[in-house]
Structure formats: C-alpha cells, structure tokens
C-alpha cells in the first residue's frame, strides 16, 4: 500500500500542478513562489554546510549553549531582522546542517516569538516598517558573485546571501499570486461576538498571514481596521493571535527540504504558536485587563488601540514562552517521538560528501569515519557468512566452542550483500578520495589518505576471500563430517578471533590505542598457516583425509588466511598513527618475521 502511494505520489503531484497552471495564472505565481522559496532554502542550507566544522559552528555553539543564550539569540536576531519567519527558517537550516542542537533551535524559536513583538511596537509607535525584503535583489546579485569564488567561506557566504535572496523572491511571488485573494479579507464581513467571534477572527488572522506571507502585514491591516472602527478591539486581539499561528507556515514550507531535525523544529514552532494561541484565547479577559493596566501605567491612552495591540502582542508571546519554557524537555521528547531519527541507509556513505568541503582536517576525519563504517558493514557480512552472530561472538567466552556449536547455515545471499553493502560504499570512498586528492594537500595528508585507502582495500579483500570460503564451510560445518569438519571449524574460529580483535581495537580508547597491539595477530596468521599445513599432511599420511579433500580444504584455507590478514591489516591501517614521531615508532617497533615463534629477549 505504502509502495503504491509512493509510486503514485509524484505523477499525482505533477498532474495537480499542471491542472492548476492551466486553470489559474495566480496558481502559477504561487507555485513558482514556493519553488523559488524552497530553492532558496536549499542554497541557505548548502551555505551553512560550508561553515560546518569551522568558526560559525564554534560561534553558534557558544551563543546557543544554554536555553537562556539561545532564547536571547532568538530575541536579538529577530529584533534586528524584523522577521520571526526568517529567523525560524535560518534556525531550521542551522539545525539541518548540524550546526546547532534541537534544544538550541527550540530556544531560538521561543526567542523569535518575543523578538517579533518589537515589530508591532515599531509599526504602532513610530509608523516604522523595516522591510528587509528590499535587499533581496542586491543579496541575489552579490551572493551569486561570491558563489563562484574559490574560497570556501566566501562561497558559503555567497550561498547564504543568494539563498536569502531567493527566499524573499519566493515570498514576493507567493504574495503576488495571493493578491487576488487579499480582497477577500474584508474584516467586517466576519463580525461576530463572544467566544466563536474570537475563534473565527483568529482563523481569519491565520489565513490572512498565510496569504500575505507576513504577520507584520496582518498587524498593519488589523491596526488600520481597528483605527477606522471596522472591527472591535476584541476582534483585533483575536486577529493578532491568528497572525501568530499563520506565521508558522513559512517555517513549515521551509522544513520541506530540511532533514528530520529541521522538520522537528518546524513542528516545535507550530506547537509553540498553537499552545500560545490557545492560552491567549482562554485567558483573553485577564490579558486584556493586563493590557489596560500596563497601558495606563506607561501612559498609553485608553483609545490608542494600535499601541495597546502592541502591548497585547508582547504580553501573549511572553506568556507563551513562560508557559512553554518549563515544558521544553517534554516538548523535545515529543518532537523526537513524533518525528523519529532517520534510519541511516548503511549501504550509502554516512560521513563523506560535498558537505565535508575542502579542508584537509575535515576530509581526513570524514574519511576515517567512513572507512570505519565500511569495516562495520564488512565485519557484519564476514561474521554472517561464517554462520555466526556478531553479538554472540563478541560475548562468547570460548570462541572455539561457540563456533563448533553454530551449525545452522544462515539464509543470506552473500554476493548480493557484498554488492549492496560493501561495493557501493567502497566505490564512493574511492571516488571521494580521488576528488579530494585533486585539491591542495600536504604530503602528510596524502599519506594519511593512502593509509585509509589501504584500510578499505584490505577489508574489502577480506570479504571477497570469505565469499569464496562460504559454500564449503557451510557444507562441512552444517553436519558432522569428521576431521574435515574440525578443519573448517578451525578456519572459522581463527577468523572469528581476528574479528574479535578488530572489534576490540574499534572500541578501544583512542588515546591509548596502538596498532602495535595487533602484532601478535599479524604474525599468528603465518603460524596458523604453517600449523594447518603440517596437520593436513599428517591426516593424509594417516589416511584420514583423501587427496581431493585435502586439496579442496587447502584452497579454502588460503582464502581464510587471506581474509585473516585482510582483517588485521585493514584494522592496523585504520588505527595506526599516520604521521609524526609516533608513526615512526610504530613502524620501527613492528614485529619481524622471525618473531612468530620466539618470545625471548630484548635486543642487547
């Protein structure tokens, strides 16, 4: 059912769009406006991604490090920009790019709702209307020039500026498209008193804000209608509450291109504004009394409804923040429950991509994590191909006994799993590495990248070797076949031991981890090969193993040795020191070939 819905969704959306374009030119404007707006969001996110891992991330972490700080950041930025919607969508972009936490994002949204009240004061008190959208065209032009620069930061600023320009351009087209609907907002038509009057005017306020794409424009409309006596003071209050709900539409549209975190923040915005609106509706009388009391206190005239509306707007938004702040943890838990984390597709890269940018340090870190991710996929596949479970293996006290007891053949297509979970990821790592190496890199970074490539290469080799081994291993260990079963179980056991050591390295404290820890395993592979060769020879002499059985096993055993070596080398390459004196020490102290059987004295 879900698959059918997914398959039909795109054609249905396209059909609706084409029908809409044919029926209404205004619809074209609105749809184009939404498209330009979303394009702006994508650019904005790309722009902020350029700063990931850099000073902006550090700065944002510092200025949004606590609830108070993020709240203040929201208040201040909205006061400066005079647009809570803009601050909300920038916060969504920050969150989507991983620059801030969800809690910080929620704090900024709360703060933006207080910051937006300054707009009502400016309009009502000074007739001043800050129109940041007037800068849209210069932003676009300057932004595009910067996008073509080589410097990562200039490029990032360019994307942000162009993104903002496109956002405003999109909003402009949406407004143009809705122009014909604007006349529908003859506020006197909905004259109604009592609770239902409040509800109806609140809905009208929300709809007007959606249509005009600006809560400020709605406030101007309300103040004008109030001043000319078209609506009552109570109706105006309900309209202002509605405007607060309608303003969330911009963030909701903006979150369409955002990841799950951005969507959570848009939902937080909606929840906050709905709760605040609900509380304001229920407490309308006491709030109105508070407005009168404060207005009288600060010298606002009883008939100066424009300023009284600004007081109301401030009170009910501050009330909303006061109500929601103690519930912030619960709100975040609700958001995380409602919009769960995206389950990562393990076959696709999780860390490398365009967002990593051109910094050697970030490239190295992302690659290291991605190779570790490849290792994880490979280890899982190797263990399953040996008909073992990872968690059971890692918990086993006696690996030999656990392997001997694991006889059931797993129902997995190893070739398919290799294609889907290893090959795709491996080729993406190589592609990324090749692209990264074309930039300016120091010799040591190039060396590090080569080490990481070797690590990925060795692990992929190990998987391929185990693929060859699987059929006979499953056949001879699925049921008792005498000596040959014990031989294949020995290969499985030794491979399982290598996997356990690789896992121990992966989970070790990076500060004390050393690739020298694996020297014993490295020399042990040769030791196992020699031991098994001698043992098989003995079995043949004793006629306990036929020639074809021995040949077949020795072939498979060589795949096994290859896989063991691959696992250990891949792990060493991933966790060894790559450069500097520590790397030199590891290189000098590495075991010699003649260390296999000797454990005696130090050099003298």
């Amino acid at each position: 059912m879900r698959r059918i819905f997914k398959k039909t969704l795109l054609p249905v959306v396209l059909a609706i769009l084409i029908l809409g374009f044919w029926l209404s030119p205004d619809f074209q404007q609105i749809a184009a406006g939404v498209a330009i707006f979303l394009f702006g969001m994508l650019m904005l996110e790309d722009g902020f991604n350029q700063f990931s891992g850099g000073f902006l991330e550090q700065l944002l972490k510092r200025v949004t490090g606590s609830t108070f700080k993020s709240l203040s950041f929201g208040v201040l930025s909205t006061t400066i920009m005079q647009s809570s919607s803009l601050v909300s969508i920038i916060a969504i972009s920050f969150l989507s790019a991983g620059l801030i936490s969800l809690a910080a994002g929620v704090g900024i949204i709360f703060g933006a709702n207080i910051g937006t009240t300054t707009g009502a004061w400016l309009v009502a008190g000074f007739g001043l209307k800050v129109k940041i959208s007037a800068y849209a065209m210069p932003m676009l032009a300057l932004g595009i020039v910067l996008v073509f620069q080589r410097s990562k930061y200039l490029k990032g600023i360019g994307y942000v500026l162009a993104g903002l320009g496109f956002l405003f351009l999109g909003i402009h087209h949406m407004k143009e498209g809705f122009e014909t609907f604007k006349d529908q907002f003859d506020l006197t038509r909905y004259a109604m008193t009592g609770f239902w009057g409040l509800v109806v005017y609140m809905l009208v306020g929300a709809a007007a804000t959606v249509v005009m794409q600006s809560s400020h424009a709605t406030m101007v409309l309300i103040i004008t209608a109030l001043a000319s006596g078209q609506i009552s003071y109570e109706n105006a209050l309900a309209l202002a509450i509605g405007a607060n709900i309608g303003t969330t539409i911009t963030a909701i549209i903006g979150s369409m291109t955002a990841n799950y975190q951005g969507k959570r923040l848009a939902l937080a915005h909606l929840v906050f504004n709905l709760v605040t609106a609900g509380a304001a509706l229920l407490l309308i009388s006491p709030i109105r009394d508070a407005v009168d009391w404060i207005s009288a206190g600060v010298g606002i005239g009883a008939e100066d409804y424009a300023l009284k509306l600004a007081v109301f707007h401030t009170i009910f938004n501050v009330l909303g923040v006061a109500l929601m702040l103690p519930m912030m943890k619960r709100l975040i838990a609700f958001l995380e429950r409602t919009i769960p984390d995206a389950v990562p597709d393990v076959s696709q890269p999780l860390y490398i991509g365009a967002a990593v940018g051109g910094f050697p340090a970030t490239i190295e870190l992302a690659l290291r994590k991605e190779v570790a991710h490849l290792h994880e996929n490979a280890i899982e596949l190797i263990v399953h191909a040996l008909n073992l479970h990872r968690h059971e293996l890692f918990a086993a006290k006696d690996i030999e006994a656990y392997v001997a007891a694991s006889r059931e053949t797993f129902d997995i297509d190893v070739d398919l799993a290799y294609e889907q979970r290893i090959k795709v990821l491996y080729s993406k790592i190589l592609e990324f590495m090749t692209t990264s190496l074309t930039g300016d890199m120091s010799e040591s970074t190039v060396k590090t990248l080569h080490h990481l490539r070797r690590s990925a290469e060795e692990m992929v080799r190990a998987v391929k070797e185990v693929k060859h081994l699987r059929a006979n291993t499953s056949h001879f260990t699925g049921a008792e076949h005498g000596e040959i079963t014990r031989l294949y179980n020995r290969i499985r056991t030794e491979l399982a031991r290598m996997v356990v050591e690789a896992n121990k390295m992966a989970n070790a404290d990076p500060d004390i981890r050393s690739s020298l820890w694996l020297e014993q395993e490295r020399t042990r592979v040769k030791q196992i090969k020699a031991e098994l060769g001698d043992y098989v020879e003995g079995l043949m002499i004793a006629k306990e193993l036929t020639g074809p059985e021995a040949t077949s096993f020795l072939n498979d055993a060589s795949y096994g040795y290859g896989a063991m070596k691959g696992i250990i080398d891949a792990t060493r390459f991933l966790y060894s020191e790559y450069q500097g004196p520590m790397a030199e020490i590891e290189r000098i102290l590495a075991a010699d070939d003649d260390d296999e059987h000797s454990a005696d004295a130090a050099p003298s």
Binding site: L516, I585, A591, D595, A602, P603
Partner: protein, 81 residues
C-alpha cells in the same frame, strides 16, 4: 629476537630524519608508546587471570609476551635515539 629488521628500520628512519623527511623521535614519544603497550599488557594479564582453558591461556601468554617484547624494544630504541 631478530634485531636485523628493527636495526634496518631505525637506520632508514635516521636517514629520513637527516634528509628532513621525518620528524625526530623524542623520549616522551617513546614513553607514550610504552604507556600504550603497558595499558594493553595490564588488560591482557587481568583477562588471563580468569582463563582456565589451556589453549586459550597459551594464546594470551603469547600475546602478552609479544607486548613485553615490544616494550623492551621501545626501551632499546630510547637508548639509540
């Protein structure tokens, strides 16, 4: 204990240092390497205490022995530099 390999690698390293292609190893670097090896040794010795199976004990003892050998080599390296 084969000295050939380690001496050869040390020789190569010293040539790289002389040509400015490698960073100089200082005593505290070796100390850090010894600390890392000792941390693993301590962990292995603790694990060995709970092992009764003879073949498993042997494997642990071999691993501990390898680590001890590397510690001794590291001390030897400290004298050489």
């Amino acid at each position: 204990m084969g000295l050939n390999g380690i001496v050869e690698r040390l020789d190569k390293y010293q040539k790289r240092v002389a040509s400015g292609r490698a960073e100089k190893i200082k005593p505290h670097h070796i100390q850090k390497a010894i600390e890392k090896l000792t941390a693993k040794e301590v962990e292995l010795v603790a694990e060995l205490a709970g092992v009764t199976k003879p073949s498993k004990r042997l494997r642990f003892e071999e691993k501990i022995s390898m680590i001890q050998k590397q510690v001794e080599r590291a001390k030897w390296l400290a004298q050489q530099i």
